[in-house]
């Protein structure tokens, strides 16, 4: 029942947001300004993920800012309920109800802090070319869809449930692909990322993650509206 109510109000919120009627999210708290109750409540999150969810320069505290709210909610509930296993996250979220996870997701979806510097460790150009090829075009022979087919032509994500792929370190992206492949990270069924990850080799993942982590910040980092993009395969987190 909670879910239905929230689902309806989220729909409402999204429909208003897409017509531009809703105000831009509150600007992040700066030193010396008054903190909102949400800024204060989220200290348990921002002490690791940064005051605007920009992430830290390591693989444990990734960027969460500006990702689609439904995507963030799916991750929060997965940590809480066991779809993703990272004990410190599961522990923090264990006794927060869905309503609050939606509030937290909306909060961090509303930020667009500056992106970190792209990765710059030397990687052979041929590897990066191959990575770009997979990201933008996929490999139809192996039924590997292009990342861009779902994550948006500019890879900034697609509302409501598909995250952007920029602003993340290569090691984080590769790590997540590994957990999908091994099945320790689950998305809502059907788990399309698990399907895709099992079709990728180590070489593919290395190339894709390194190319992605070297891309500059896009001019408009917001996730794109769903439009009428037909996903190349069924994904539980982006029902069509």
């Amino acid at each position: 029942m909670h879910r239905r109510t929230i689902g309806a109000s989220l729909l409402l919120l999204l429909s208003v947001a897409s017509t531009g009627a809703i105000a831009q999210p509150a600007q992040p708290a700066q030193a010396g300004t008054t903190l909102s109750p949400m800024d204060e409540r989220m200290r348990a999150c921002t002490s690791c993920h940064g005051v605007q969810g920009q992430g830290r320069n390591n693989d444990y505290f990734p960027r969460i800012a500006g990702k689609p709210a439904d995507y963030l909610f799916n991750q929060l509930s997965a940590f809480r309920d066991g779809g993703r296993t990272y004990p410190p996250m599961g522990y923090l979220l264990a006794f927060l109800p869905d309503e609050d996870l939606h509030r937290i997701a909306q909060y961090f979806a509303g930020f667009q802090p500056p992106y970190p510097n792209p990765d710059s460790a030397p990687v052979p150009p041929a590897v990066l070319d191959y990575g770009k090829q997979l990201v933008m075009n996929g490999d139809p022979a192996r039924k590997v869809p292009a990342c861009a087919a779902c994550h948006g032509a500019k890879l900034t994500g697609t509302e409501p449930g598909i995250p952007g792929l920029l602003g993340l370190h290569a090691s984080y992206i590769a790590g997540q692909m590994g957990t999908w492949r091994s099945g320790t990270r689950h998305a809502l069924a059907p788990d399309c990322m698990h399907t895709i990850a099992t079709r990728l080799s180590e070489r593919d993942i290395y190339a894709v993650s390194n190319w992605l982590s070297r891309q500059p910040r896009p001019d408009d980092p917001r996730p794109v509206p769903p439009g009428d993009v037909k996903l190349p395969l069924a994904c539980g987190s982006e029902p069509q």
Partner: protein, 444 residues
């Protein structure tokens, strides 16, 4: 975890009159259309949903509604529903020092659940701790507490469990180490620790006190954590509610009988009620395993019942008072280092003077959780942080950040030493070694 609540909620919805919901929904849509011609369909349906939610009455038989309430008082869901599992279908692994037990299916499925049990068989299980075939139940089930439940309450819980959707999910066998996999050993355990029989009211005490005692000692099974468990997995009567380290989970359950070590004797009834039911209070918040109890169980109990528990809990401690005298002496450099860490990381919420800003930020000065003999909880809260549970009375809890990733063992030991000995607090210093040991404590 919320799955359970969603399931409970959607389950409750099913039992409500469908026609009433539909009628209200249509009325809601019509009303919102009339009020605002431009209202979007989503807006209307959102309004209809909330109207329906508010208006739909629980049409289940009274005994089922009461049984659901009592099942919550007994926190059955915490063990008998697995994460992302079906309601009461069991399968939750419970790690104990003796091996892993898996909670059984208690849905009305005849093959795997309790579908073939009679009301008498269910009551017999609650009272005697034996399955209908005579097998002894492992005391991971609070049999020594549930034996105190009245026949009437047992029948209500039975009626409720019969009303939930049956789930055909096979039970997973326990994985106990030898010799604990020998069920006959339970005969010995029961001789030592099991006293069969309903709660006997104390006629010298008030009705309210007796109601509280019935809930705390019976369905609430508070003693399962708040009494030290011994090597045999039992707890002696003389240690009743004296507190202790919870095995495996490595959280310290405070004493309920000594105000020196966590007792609630000098708390106001309001603060105890707030702590139990809302999950936070002007004296502190629940965390760790107690957050789970408030989340799944206590937040759903009536004001009267929680107040009765508070009256009983407040009366439990002997009248020996709180710790007194000067604070323990500490190494000057450690205290100074702790003060610096505190100023840098903690003071923004808990204040320079440790007074906090309750209920958002609990006070640390004069806080029994900080002063307890065991330093386990203060160390773990600094390392792991935590959110109090999101409850009906505290929908938007304030989270404590984890600091384990940014404080060294020395830093964390210094700051915990500082908060345990500053502001007139009566805790003892802690060592980096203690901090290091608790970094390995499990987080679920």
């Amino acid at each position: 975890m919320m799955n359970r609540i969603s399931q409970l909620a959607s389950h409750a919805l099913k039992h409500r009159s469908v026609s009433a919901v539909v009628v209200t929904a249509i009325a809601g849509i019509a009303a919102s259309m009339l009020l605002s011609g431009a209202a979007s369909a989503q807006e209307a349906s959102a309004a209809a949903t909330s109207t329906a939610t508010a208006a739909a009455a629980d049409t289940r038989p009274a005994i089922v509604v009461r049984g659901e309430y009592l099942a919550r008082a007994g926190d059955c869901v915490a063990c008998h529903t697995a994460p992302r599992g079906r309601l009461f279908a069991g399968g939750l692994p419970m790690e104990t020092p003796f091996g892993t037990l898996y909670s059984p299916n208690i849905t009305p499925n005849a093959q795997y659940g309790i579908g073939s049990w009679t009301k008498d068989a269910f009551f017999n299980m609650m009272r005697t701790g034996k399955l209908p075939d005579g097998k002894l139940i492992y005391p991971a089930m609070p049999i020594a507490q549930y034996t105190k439940v009245t026949r009437e309450d047992s029948d209500a819980i039975y009626a409720y469990l019969r009303s939930i959707p049956p789930v055909a999910q096979e039970n997973r066998p326990h994985e106990l180490k030898f010799p604990f996999n020998q069920r006959d050993l339970l005969i010995g355990w029961r001789t030592l620790y099991f006293r069969e029989g309903a709660y006997q009211p104390d006629p010298t005490k008030s009705v309210e006190w007796n109601r509280g005692a019935y809930l705390v000692e019976g369905l609430g099974h508070c003693t399962m954590c708040h009494t030290q468990i011994n090597m045999l997995g039992g707890s002696s009567q003389s240690d009743q509610f004296a507190g202790g380290l919870i095995p495996v989970q490595k959280w310290y359950a405070p004493s309920l009988t000594s105000d020196k070590d966590g007792g609630l004797g000098d708390w106001s009834i309001k603060d105890i009620v707030d702590l139990l039911q809302a999950g936070n209070s002007s004296r502190g918040a629940v965390y760790g395993p107690m957050a789970e109890v408030t989340f799944h169980s206590l937040q759903y109990l009536s004001d009267d019942d929680v107040k009765a528990m508070a009256v009983y809990l407040k009366a439990l401690p002997s009248n020996t008072g709180r710790k007194a005298g000067p604070s323990a002496s500490t190494e000057t450099t450690v205290f100074a280092h702790g003060a610096n860490v505190y100023k840098d990381k903690c003071a923004v919420c808990h204040g320079d003077n440790g007074k906090g800003n309750a209920p958002k930020y609990p006070p640390l000065a004069n806080n029994q959780s900080i002063e307890m003999d065991s330093a386990v909880n203060p160390i773990r809260i600094v390392l792991n942080g935590g959110f109090p549970p999101g409850t009906k009375r505290n929908l938007e809890p304030y989270g404590m950040p984890p600091f384990g990733q940014e404080l060294s063992d020395d830093d964390a030991a210094a700051v915990v030493t500082y908060i345990r000995t500053a502001w007139g607090n009566h805790g003892l210093p802690v060592t980096p070694r203690e901090v290091n040991d608790l970094r390995k404590a499990p987080l679920r």
